[in-house]
């Protein structure tokens, strides 16, 4: 379960300067926060606060506590201190608020109980009193440990049987004065589990026992998950059962299959992540105690992480030494979030750190719960503290600074484009490293605030006698400190040198004649110091790491250590950029360094031939360098050995093909040709076609292509590329020669392979190439076919093809409307396409074009590629023309050939199976039915829509000779009755009106009678006959009708 990874150790300088805090008495406990350092001294009854940000750490104030402080914590939110104190064998929990008003020591300090907020205070005293106030927080159980939420200032107190959560109430009375109070709002019952440390952050609660860590989250539970569980516990208060069930399930888990053959009741090494942790065996139940409990009823606890360690697991440490320490929850915000300012928003990441003597663990808790890093310490660690930039660890004799992966995790939460070809970031699983191991004497305690690390050092107290030793005069430690500091400043560690150490201790302690110093070499010098070590500004450390990496690169350009160091440096910058408090000037400097860092990582990966070489692309993109600059950076030192890394070629290829770079100068473009000639000659045709290579010397490119042609299999794309180049230099013989080498069909394949031969995208524009222009005039069929093929192979979208042809035809030879070439494209695409949405779109567009042309009749001289007949024969969407149409609009019926074609195409579409007539009705409005062409379309549409009766009337009115072919074709099946219900009466009426003179009508009537006589029985037929009919006219039909009926 433990990842054993190698730990790189670098000797960089994350620590800048060291100051000695002017404490007069030996501090017992220290803690930091709000740019202040708090040292508890005078037997735990006095707290001194020092200003961390000022040179020399001056004293801010000193105030007395009410008892002997056993532990102390500062909260950034609310700027209060909370202590566990003892007095006369009783233990108290107290919060010290507004402590900065204690600058004058003899100021009175207010004391009150939790919740006894003096609302009337201001009215009684006039102005609000700027006074320090201590809030006494009574507890039922003995407090063991406590923690404050860095985002809300809420206070979590770990007691012997439970955890109590207090929410911070803050009321601002004036600009400088606010009153704090706490509300006890939740008790977490954790039976038979006494935490040694707790942590609280953004609803996450972490607790640590000797060899166990549990992290849970308080959150709103989905109400729909609850009811089933709740039903069985009607008698138990709801908040007591939330997790009571877990014990059952956990019991089952414990006796899982893996445990069957060992029944040893020995704690095993365990790691349970997320939901899994529910089975850990530690039950947590909630009891709401606050005033607003009701609103929190839907809140519950979810398990996040559980780890348990076996006591004998760690070699080199005795069992009693093996216990966890330094539990910490660390939030991180992304740069878009307003982290921890006015209203605390949910942090993007929350990390959990805890440590054993020889190994530390850092987990990411949000999104997926995951072990991010395991830190192997070279020696036993006493305490560790995690920040966004570093993990600081103290051992007895060293301060160690390790790299962290917080920013690598946060970057991925912030930017979904990371780990794509757009952006990159070093992986968070990357091995951590020790940036520095700094020697110190007798380290005891560590705390941290911003860029300040506070270290308490003290000599080991060996015997009781020494314990009783009087406090040294205050002068002595100062001299001692000065000298020790001096040695350290010049790089000598007194502890590393026994003689020096003896000298140091003797020269100052010799004045005390009574004190005899034992001569054991392991003995540390007696004394204590409180140091503030400032970490190096990010930019400086970044610079150093970059320099450091160059040393590695010099000895081995492919060094992984170089990549590792640069990645560490990169992550440092990212961590700073994620800091919401970063000042804008500093931010812009770091952003500049960040781009530089991306460029360096790009350089590194471009040199590599390993699997990560593709990372060159995103890093270079993020660097903001132009491709020309990148090419320049990658130029080999000597021209003789032209060698380019795989990563660089990958970058170059993508940049050339992705249409997102600048146009290269002739020189650079020719260099690119050279590079590909060497590295990947097969790419040359594509490279040449890239729009950014326009300035490349065509003759030079032809030479390269010729060389490629000679050495590889024939390629249509290559031939077409050569043709395009020939066209550019005006060598028409060469052009013709290349274009004649392959059949048009094969050439289409060539274009599919390299669409840039025809069109190049520039943002939203589509730019036809010179070859496309030339084909328009010489081989428009090939151009259309190629574009159709590009569309069908998803190389261009319909809109892009439209733009392409519009661009090609915009020289104005066609008066207006849709260029013929585009219509040709649509017609060809309609033949080829199988996508329904495309087909519907094309049908609509073509119908619109046809109607437009028929209406305006101004479409002159442009012949289409496909005739109506071609389309009817080759395309299923164009139907065979109905016979009656040829009577209505006979071929070459008083309109020009072109319009005849358009009319036939339109009619054919209407006769076809696919076109939905109702969708084109709005278009029909502009088409007049005054002539037969228009009439034919209107009748056709009406008939398609089932309006046969109106079609019959229209035809009888306008073109009666077409009525019988129409009726024969259209009045069938369910429309059959229209013969006698509509057509026959109409004909009778019209014949009568024409007084029998109209022969067309008469013959139509006869034809109709034949059909009607066939379909009806004699009685029905008789009923139908008009009263005024001529008997001899109708009689033969009646007879036929009767005879047919008799036969049946």
């Amino acid at each position: 379960m433990v990842r054993r990874t190698m730990v790189h150790v670098y000797n960089s300088h994350p620590f800048a300067s060291q100051q000695i805090v002017p404490t007069e008495q030996e501090p017992g406990l220290v803690c930091c926060g709000g740019d202040a350092l708090f040292a508890v001294s005078a037997g735990g009854c006095k707290i001194e606060a020092y200003q961390l940000r000022e040179e020399g750490c001056p004293l801010i104030c000193r105030f007395a506590t009410m008892g002997a402080v056993r532990s102390v914590v500062h909260s950034r939110v609310g700027d209060y201190l909370v202590t566990i104190e003892e007095k006369n064998q009783a233990t108290y929990l107290r919060a010290y608020t507004n402590w900065r008003y204690q600058a004058a020591e003899k100021t009175r300090i207010g004391v009150r109980l939790l919740g006894h907020f003096l609302r009337s205070a201001s009215t009684l005293r006039g102005d609000p009193k700027e006074q320090m106030e201590i809030i006494e927080i009574p507890l039922f159980e003995l407090p063991q440990c406590m923690a404050c939420c860095p985002l809300t200032g809420d206070l979590l107190v770990g007691c012997s049987k439970n955890l109590v959560l207090f929410s911070l109430r803050q009321q601002t009375l004036s600009e400088h004065l606010s009153v704090l109070d706490f509300e006890r709002f939740l008790i977490l019952h954790v039976p038979s589990w006494t935490p040694s440390q707790v942590a609280l952050c953004a609803g996450y609660v972490a607790l640590q026992a000797e060899l166990e860590v549990l992290v849970v989250k308080l959150e709103h539970l989905q109400p729909n998950q609850e009811p089933q569980e709740g039903q069985g516990h009607a008698l138990i208060p709801e908040d007591m059962v939330t997790l009571a069930d877990c014990q059952d399930s956990e019991a089952k888990a414990e006796v899982g299959p893996q445990d069957v053959d060992d029944f040893i009741m020995f704690p095993r090494h365990q790691e349970m992540l997320g939901e899994q942790a529910k089975a850990c065996g530690v039950s947590v139940s909630l009891e709401w105690t606050g005033l607003e409990s009701e609103t929190r009823k839907d809140m519950g606890v979810t398990y996040v992480l559980y780890r348990r360690f076996a006591p004998d697991f760690f070699q080199g440490c005795s069992v009693e030494d093996t216990c966890l320490h330094s539990l910490q929850l660390y939030p991180m915000f992304t740069s878009q979030q307003e982290g921890g300012k006015e209203e605390p928003t949910e942090p993007a990441c929350v990390f959990c750190f805890f440590s054993l003597p020889n190994i530390g663990y850092m987990y990411s808790l949000k999104n997926a719960v995951e072990l991010i890093s395991a830190y192997q310490y070279p020696e036993k660690a006493l305490q560790a503290v995690l920040t966004a930039h570093f993990l600081h660890v103290i051992t007895k004799t060293t301060l160690q600074c390790f790299s962290v992966r917080c920013s690598a995790v946060a970057a991925r939460v912030e930017d979904p484009y990371i780990d794509t070809t757009m952006k990159a970031c070093p992986p968070y699983a990357m091995e951590v490293c020790a940036l520095r191991i700094q020697l110190f004497i007798g380290l005891k305690a560590l705390c941290q605030n911003r860029n300040h690390i506070v270290l308490l050092t003290a000599a080991d107290v060996e015997s009781k006698e020494e314990t009783e030793r009087p406090v040294r005069r205050s002068l002595e430690p100062k001299d001692f400190k000065t000298l020790t500091g001096f040695f350290q400043a010049v790089g000598i560690e007194p502890s590393s040198n026994t003689t020096l150490e003896n000298l140091l201790s003797r020269s100052f302690l010799s004045r005390k004649a009574s004190f005899v110093k034992p001569k054991e070499p392991s003995e540390k010098s007696h004394g204590w110091n409180l140091y503030v070590v400032n970490t190096m500004p990010t930019l400086t450390l970044y610079g150093e790491m970059v320099e450091y990496s160059k040393k590695y690169a010099l000895s081995d350009p492919f060094s992984l250590s170089c990549v590792h160091l640069l990645s560490e440096a990169h992550l440092l910058l990212r961590a700073s950029l994620l800091d919401p408090d970063l000042d804008p000037t500093e931010r812009s400097l770091i952003q500049q360094a960040f781009r530089e860092s991306c460029a360096q990582l790009g350089d590194c990966f471009s040199r590599l031939d390993k699997r990560d070489c593709h990372l060159a692309l995103p890093y270079y993109k993020m660097s903001g360098l132009s491709v020309t600059e990148v090419i320049e950076r990658n130029k080999p030192a000597t021209d003789s050995a032209l060698e380019y890394g795989k990563g660089f070629i990958f970058f170059l290829k993508h940049s050339l093909y992705e249409e997102s770079m600048e146009e290269l100068s002739e020189e650079t473009a020719d260099t690119v040709l050279n590079i590909f000639s060497m590295a990947e000659p097969a790419q040359l045709p594509h490279v040449v076609c890239s729009p950014f290579m326009q300035n490349a010397n065509p003759a030079f490119a032809l030479t390269h292509l010729g060389r490629l042609e000679a050495s590889s299999a024939p390629s249509v794309t290559l031939t077409l590329t050569k043709a395009a180049l020939a066209l550019r230099i005006g060598n028409m013989d060469l052009y013709k020669q290349q274009m004649d080498r392959h059949a048009e069909m094969l050439q289409v394949y060539g274009f599919i392979e390299e669409p840039k031969l025809l069109l190049q995208g520039r943002g939203k524009d589509v730019v036809p190439t010179a070859l496309a222009w030339y084909l328009r005039d010489t081989q428009d069929g090939l151009l259309v076919a190629a574009t159709v093929a590009l569309h069908e192979n998803n190389k261009v979208k319909l809109d892009e093809a439209d733009l392409f042809f519009q661009e090609l035809c915009k020289d104005g030879r066609e008066p207006k409307g849709c260029p013929q070439l585009l219509v040709d494209f649509w017609e060809s695409l309609l033949v080829a396409s199988s996508q329904d949405t495309v087909i519907q779109e094309l049908l609509f567009r073509l119908t619109s074009v046809y109607i437009d042309r028929i209406t305006h009749q101004d479409h002159l001289g442009m012949k289409s590629l496909k005739t109506a007949e071609d389309l009817i024969n080759s395309c299923s969407h164009y139907g065979v023309l109905y016979p009656w149409l040829s009577i209505l609009t006979p071929v070459q019926f008083n309109i020009t050939q072109d319009h005849q074609e358009d009319l036939q195409k339109l009619q054919s579409l209407l006769c076809g199976p696919t076109l939905d007539v109702s969708s084109i009705l709005p278009l029909l409005e502009q088409l007049s039915d005054a002539d037969d062409a228009g009439l034919s379309v209107h009748v056709l549409c009406a008939t398609k829509l089932g309006h046969h009766e109106s079609s019959i009337e229209q035809l009888l009115d306008r073109c009666p000779q077409a009525i019988i072919p129409f009726a024969n074709h259209e009045l069938q099946n369910d429309k059959m009755p229209l013969w006698w219900q509509k057509l026959f009466p109409e004909l009778c009426k019209r014949t009568r009106a024409a007084e029998g003179e109209n022969t067309v009508l008469l013959s139509a009537l006869k034809e109709t009678l034949v059909v009607v006589a066939m379909e009806l029985n004699p009685l029905e037929f008789l009923d139908l006959l008009p009263d005024d009919g001529t008997a001899h006219f109708f009689l033969p039909h009646l007879l036929e009708c009767s005879q047919r009926n008799l036969m049946i």
Partner: protein
């Protein structure tokens, strides 16, 4: 600095307006302000003093004497090492109330042996001309209630203030079980738990 120092909690009780805050201010800062506000709740000040060769940190607790602040002050009686019962010599009612203050203190401080607990009685405002409580009356009360020391003080004139507080210290130090109240300075354990001197891994 002396080798040992201890933190002694001394609490000032008495009716509102008898001058508890003034006594504390006079003692700690050596100042007197006639227009001091009423104390609300509880406040304290620390003062390092040497009494008979003993270095002690005196933590003087000033309380609100008015009845309406009772709930604010009583929780803080616990852990007191000495109680200064204060009245004003020009206000007989404040003197008559001493017994109630004593009772309130013993009850809330949860004093195990009230008979031996060190009380010191202060009659303040000695500077005023019209006394209502005579020295004899006060001394008699002290005698009858547990043989308490009695000091007549004036915070305004700084009369007897230091002696009264020093007497409080002496009273505490004189308690037979002195060690219980002491927290030695330089034996504070720096660690959460004692560590054996094993070498690290």
């Amino acid at each position: 600095m002396a080798s040992k120092s201890s933190l002694l909690k001394v609490i000032l009780l008495g009716d509102g307006g008898v001058g508890k805050s003034s006594l504390m201010n006079r003692y700690v800062t050596n100042k007197f302000d006639t227009h001091l506000f009423h104390t609300i709740g509880v406040e304290f000040l620390n003062k390092d003093v040497e009494v008979d060769g003993h270095m002690v940190t005196l933590q003087i607790w000033d309380t609100a004497g008015q009845e309406r602040f009772r709930s604010l002050r009583t929780p803080f009686y616990r852990g007191s090492d000495c109680c200064l019962l204060t009245f004003s010599v020009d206000d007989s009612q404040s003197f008559l109330n001493l017994g109630n203050w004593r009772k309130e203190f013993i009850y809330y401080a949860d004093v195990k042996e009230p008979e031996t607990f060190p009380f010191v009685v202060l009659g303040n405002k000695l500077d005023v001309t019209e006394r209502q409580v005579s020295t004899e009356e006060a001394q008699q009360w002290c005698q009858e209630n547990g043989n308490y020391s009695y000091y007549e003080t004036s915070a305004k004139d700084a009369t007897n203030v230091a002696s009264a507080f020093e007497e409080a210290v002496r009273r505490v130090l004189a308690m037979e079980d002195r060690a219980e109240h002491l927290i030695p300075t330089d034996t504070v354990n720096l660690h959460r738990k004692p560590r054996s001197n094993t070498t690290c891994c």
